[in-house]
Amino acid sequence: MTPDAVGASPPALTFRAASFGYAGRPAIEGIDGTVRRGEALALVGPNGAGKSTLLKGIVGEAARLAGAVDLHGFAVRNLAYLPQQPEIDRSFPITAEEFAATGLWRRLGPWRRYGPGHRAELSEALARVGLGGHEGHLIGALSGGQMQRLLFARTLLQDAPLVLLDEPFTAIDARTEADLLGIVRAWREEGRTVIAALHDLGQVRAVFPTALLLARRAIAWGPTAEVLTPENLARAEGRPLPDAGAADAAETAALAALGSS
């Protein structure tokens, strides 16, 4: 099911008949396929399709009920994962700068010195997400968009080969969205693997060359243009297949349905 176009690069992540869920009940089943290094894969599907569960399954926050996930030599701690609802205590008295610096945890651990090189890297990351000048602000004083920028700054510092993003652009302003999409593009150009759950099909078409359409199982997986067809979207939604003449209308409807979810 994996596209041949990027078949040349080595694998980053392989699912083998993998099912994930909670309390023994599967939320998504029978996922089979490989994500190549440097690939930017969008997870698309209606609400409850299992996009978040699949991402949680990769990092072990959702239980793997069957099959296997192969990270090809990487460990979960090498990945960067940005959940849709982070367990962050926004009232904790920590500054934006200090919070972003936690992205260095994997490299510095509890004791290693936080040196001038790290400091430079940190201020560069904050500048890249547009938070230069906000270093000393407490995270509780940041807006939703600024907090998301800060989380991207931390992800930048994690310097991870595989980045998992769960609906990273929900409930943020258009400018923040554009800036952060730019960072996703940059990750792609740097050869990092990005897997993102998204509901905005326009975004998917613009930034993600490959897509995986989900509806509690894989509906289609491949080049974005071949995956996001009206027929596939209708199947994911559980609606009857549109006839040829109604295809455009069907796609519009599917877009609207996905966009509102």
Partner: protein, 288 residues
């Protein structure tokens, strides 16, 4: 004047011992209290301190007012309740605060019952409210040791502790540090409560841990401010409380905790960060 402020400590060794014990506690317990309040675990520490009572009481039953026996009993019981209440919360529908309240009510009743089986009301008062004016060498060494271990632990675990507080999921996915940090934090809390129990008794041990921490919240916004201010508040309360208890012939433990209480009231009124006076002056900031 100097005689009034220093006289009791120059003249009486039991006052010096009390001051040394309280100062040692003041270095370690308030920073732990800061993290407890930030993690909204104040009630947890309360429950754990009460849980120490039946453990100490069993030690008392077995070997009288013996420090090692009561310390060991208290340590074991405190750790047991910390782990049990976590397990009850995870495996039942009960919210953590409810399960903690249940644990600590049972603990107090059981502890008082156990002490009364063998001891007098005076023994009970000693266990509940401590004997800060009768700290002997082993007790002082224990408190000093606990204080040193706590400061060392804070130095080692500071980074993961902060990350664990602010974004537990992030730390959980970054390796084993999360579980190690959480469990060792609970252990350190119990250790400090056991240390505080020597001086202030099981009921008031939390006082020197939590009151300085909430006082600090009125004067600082970030950890580099909160931690030293909490220590300072605790040092001042210990010193002023002991002095007050000496001159006014009041019981020492309650005097120390009441002094901290007075500082707390003062902070509510004039604290730079959210004190009532400032809120009334700048009504537009009242909601912030």
């Amino acid at each position: 004047m100097i005689d009034l402020l220093l006289g009791p400590f120059v003249e009486f060794s039991f006052m010096r011992r009390a001051l040394a014990g309280c100062f040692a506690l003041s270095l370690s317990a308030p920073p732990i209290g800061v993290f407890l309040t930030l993690r909204r675990m104040s009630l947890m520490s309360d429950a754990m301190s009460h849980a120490i009572l039946p453990g100490a009481a069993v030690g008392f039953l077995v070997s009288g007012l013996s420090l090692p026996a009561m310390t060991f009993g208290g340590l074991a019981a405190g750790l047991a309740v910390a782990l049990l209440s976590g397990a009850v919360t995870r495996s039942t529908a009960l919210k953590e605060d409810a399960s903690l309240a249940a644990f600590y009510l049972v603990s107090i009743a059981l502890g008082v019952m156990l002490v009364s089986l063998k001891g007098s009301n005076v023994d009970l008062l000693h266990i509940l409210f401590g004997t800060v004016l009768a700290l002997d060498d082993p007790a002082l060494l224990l408190i000093g040791g606990i204080s040193a271990v706590t400061l060392l632990w804070l130095a080692i675990a500071y980074r993961p502790l902060v990350v664990e507080c602010v974004d537990p999921l992030f730390l959980r996915l970054s390796g084993r540090a999360s579980a190690v940090t959480h469990l060792s934090f609970l252990g350190i809390v119990v250790l400090n409560l056991v240390g505080g129990f020597q001086a202030l008794g099981t009921l008031l041990a939390v006082g020197i841990m939590l009151l300085p921490a909430v006082i600090a919240r009125f004067w600082a916004t970030t950890l580099p401010g909160l931690l030293p201010i909490s220590v300072l508040a605790s040092l001042v309360s210990s010193y002023a409380g002991l002095l007050l208890s000496y001159h006014a012939e009041l019981p020492s433990g309650p005097a120390i905790v009441l002094t901290a209480g007075a500082l707390y009231l003062l902070s509510i009124l004039v604290g730079r960060n959210g004190g009532l006076v400032w809120r009334m002056r700048r009504p537009s900031h009242a909601a912030a």
